[in-house]
Symmetry: C2
Subunit: 339 residues, 2 copies
Amino acid sequence: MARGPYPKLSDVARAAGVSLATASRALAEPALVRLRTRERVRAAAAMLGYVPHGAARALATRRSRTVGAVFPPVDNPIFAAATQALAHELAASGYTLLLATHEYDPASEREVTRTLLERAVDGLVLVGLDHDPELYRMISQAGVPYELMWSLDPAGFHPCVGVAHRIASVRATQHLLALGHREFAVLAGRTAHNDRTRERLAGVREALAARGIELRPERVVEADFALPAARQAFAALLSRAPGFTALVCGNDVLAIGALAECAARAILVPEAISIVGFDDIDMASGVTPALTTVRVPAAEMGRRAAARMLARLAGATVVPVEELPATLVVRASTGPAPR
Amino acid sequence: MARGPYPKLSDVARAAGVSLATASRALAEPALVRLRTRERVRAAAAMLGYVPHGAARALATRRSRTVGAVFPPVDNPIFAAATQALAHELAASGYTLLLATHEYDPASEREVTRTLLERAVDGLVLVGLDHDPELYRMISQAGVPYELMWSLDPAGFHPCVGVAHRIASVRATQHLLALGHREFAVLAGRTAHNDRTRERLAGVREALAARGIELRPERVVEADFALPAARQAFAALLSRAPGFTALVCGNDVLAIGALAECAARAILVPEAISIVGFDDIDMASGVTPALTTVRVPAAEMGRRAAARMLARLAGATVVPVEELPATLVVRASTGPAPR
DNA sequence: AAGAAAAATGAAAACGCTTGCATAAGGTAT
DNA sequence: ATACCTTATGCAAGCGTTTTCATTTTTCTT
């Protein structure tokens, strides 16, 4: 067929007997070309198996039809759900997701973000508020629109869609208080570079303080996001400062870890200890006892972030801060405090 | 600063007092330019906050430093793990992941793959063997190298890294046979367009057949990949053809769903029914009873696929078919058959 | 210190597409 | 038919890099 390995638009044009410009328009802006010509071009393109070259198009139009996302590890189910929704929603509008991940580490987050910017993404989606100032600088200098997921910017400066972690955490704690619990422990996620975990922890403190209850420092422990780490951290809590009847966890994986450790030690949940998680991942309802938790609509957040980004790329304006509900889901892992 | 909104290489060159060509080389091929000049260019680039334009580079070099991945929904933990590993590994070599997902649907898989090809990915990673012939045609016509994950091509035609699902499934079934089970049921994943689920199911049949045991059709049910669907399907199995003592599940999520349903119905596992899963997702060890399952090294597969792709992009050749071990992990959800 | 070889630089041509502007072709009203 | 609009098409100039090739500068030999 064509000399070169892959047909380009000029090959299509030649085959259809039209100019390059017309071929381009026939495919991209069909309304501008007469039906007959359009069909000829289409036929030629189909025959040659023409695939437009995105880079060339991006260069000419200055749009890559690509959105970048910078996520913490996406093997975390909540981020997986958001990623899935994001990719799916973007694809529906002809956009593709460029995915970059980092291990909660500002330096590598900066690095991968820079790479994304070099890939000429049309927009950028980030998780949370906590980012290196240098990262924000890079983004704004590149003039790329961005959206923050998960958190809500109290200043209303960053466009974002998220939930009110602190308030939700307060409510979860109040649920336990209402059940009569007075001795609390917290199995928190890592709070470094993570405003969500900090806010959740702060919420517990706030709710307890409002009732004049102190959260003893040795009753708070941070753990990595993984089952074994969670079990271990919970075990540490148990041996270091036993006697608590309520455990608030920074997320469901930590909570399920605690649950597993309880099962291993024959500690009854919720009879001896009540446990609440955060996120409401799929598994939260699958474990025994089913987990009381705060439902964070991760997939919906992904969809909304995509929709907001697409709207903005289309020139629309969106409300700067979009709050999604985070509701307490009471299941079987919480019960009245033992006396 | 610069007139135009964003500095380009020519701005950097001007600021550094060198030609465009030299500026390009100073940044991309430092060895080719004298130290002094190189530093001047670097300084100019830093000062202007220059960010190379990937599309332009891709156009000129005919490489986008981008790898596409076409995945079933990545909120499935096993795909999430693979995606994470893939993205991470690619990033380490300066490549970025373009992620596209589909809902086990050949048409949309074709569609998103085409989009990926239009984005000029340097390579493509797919899951499984079952793909529309048209899809294979598109890829080969585009001349893009690809890797298949999860499955092993028996013909050795497609480059792939995966596990032997059927054999692993045979082993899992033999484990149950060895425990004295004779009445089997299977809670399978959807087998349409999915060679993995088919192979796993075939493995059960094969192992049973070898012992002269028949798997009654009403003891086999397919379910979508989700907890509620799994519970429902298991419930159907229970009411339609009760009396089985061993349940083989197409994956861990289905198994955990069955476990949850058992808990709800006070069916003892493994005393009344033994259950085995497949995949060994994180949660498999977190549920009670901990799940006996077949460990599929999803993250490792992601890493290997990335490594293989990178190697090939660098001009190396790799073995066409790379098998990863899938080992049976015996935990607490399987036990001797009741008499 | 001269000449040759090596190293560093620059000019300009791609890369494959879009798009503003000018022109040609149809179509309508007179 | 003529003049006048539309509507379709084509020409050619970008878009921001890389890279070949020729040229200049530096370094090395003797």
